[in-house]
Symmetry: C2
Subunit: 194 residues, 2 copies
């Protein structure tokens, strides 16, 4: 699975051959097809695993930031800072998001795979929308705001930033963009003297 994920992130799904995966993983083609009915099944398994690990990462990161500060706005700002640092610190360009790469090749796959994509974006939206709602209850936003849209915005900036980082081969781009999102959140919710 590790081998397959690296290859898929590097080259996309279609360009990753089963032969190459089994060679790198030191198993046989037969062994591969014993575990996975076809490439679709591999895609689903990889996606499931990936989404789970990203969820765990977000859990850890934002749980930690809530430990560091009990105020939801400041916890969020800390969380976004941590996220930015983590993304910018990766040795070379972040390999990219498996969900996004699959999204752009989704017609290769069945409806089930497309569903995994949609529902993972949805769960991330819900997660962040929840955080933002908590914030909004304490710090009324300057302009009325849709929390689902704000939740999507985190996904949006991360996915867009990943593409740019990949194109420029520079992980700092993603880190910068997350900081701009952070700055938007700051301005949106921070109380100003009227």
């Amino acid at each position: 699975m590790d081998v397959a994920q690296d290859a898929v992130l590097a080259k996309g799904f279609a360009a990753t051959s089963i032969d190459e995966i089994v060679a790198a993983a030191e198993v046989t083609r037969s062994g591969f097809f014993y575990h996975f009915k076809d490439k679709n099944a591999l895609a689903r398994a990889l996606l499931d695993r990936y989404v789970e690990s990203e969820d765990a990462l977000f859990d850890e990161l934002f749980d930690r930031s809530r430990e560091l500060h009990e105020d939801p706005l400041h916890a969020m700002l800390i969380g976004l800072k941590l996220l930015s640092e983590m993304m910018g610190d990766l040795p070379s360009a972040h390999p990219g998001c498996l969900v996004a790469t699959t999204c752009y090749q989704d017609q290769l796959f069945d409806a089930q795979v497309r569903d995994v994509i949609r529902s993972s974006f949805h769960s991330w939206r819900q997660r962040f929308a929840g955080y933002f709602r908590e914030i909004g209850e304490i710090y009324p936003p300057k302009t009325p705001v849709d929390y689902d849209e704000l939740g999507d915005m985190v996904n949006c900036v991360v996915e867009g930033g990943l593409i740019l980082s990949r194109a420029y081969d520079d992980p700092r781009i993603l880190a910068q963009q997350i900081l701009h999102l952070r700055s938007y959140v700051t301005m949106l919710f921070s109380p100003t003297r009227q």
Copy 2:
């Protein structure tokens, strides 16, 4: 080329067969290989054409918005509004960005193709960074800001929004995210009573 672009946007590069393109375009395989050395050459040609047409679109849209308001900040806000409307108005979900889809499959292609990707993002960055610099000269931003990063931000939000719109099959997501970018720009540059 039209046929090929639609297919590539829908399914990704690797999943689009030459047979299928030539069938839809009512030419022969031989005819295809007469014009394009290989699939790489097709990718390059498609990308070049796409970047050119996107540039023309941005030119038109932001030239128009400058006609509507001579102040650079307001012209930018109008431009982003127009962009948002255009992206949200597309009949079904926006088919996606050819540059981004190629970006996530770039190892399929040669260095030349990767260069087209990098330089098109770069030219868009420059374009928007220029607009933002003009704005910043008139409206000093609240916090010091890197104009290249702001330029990238437009790319970032559009690319990220395209992915989300595609995943949710709802072009409104992209439109909303562009409006959030617009709102960030507003807050960043609008003078506030101190």
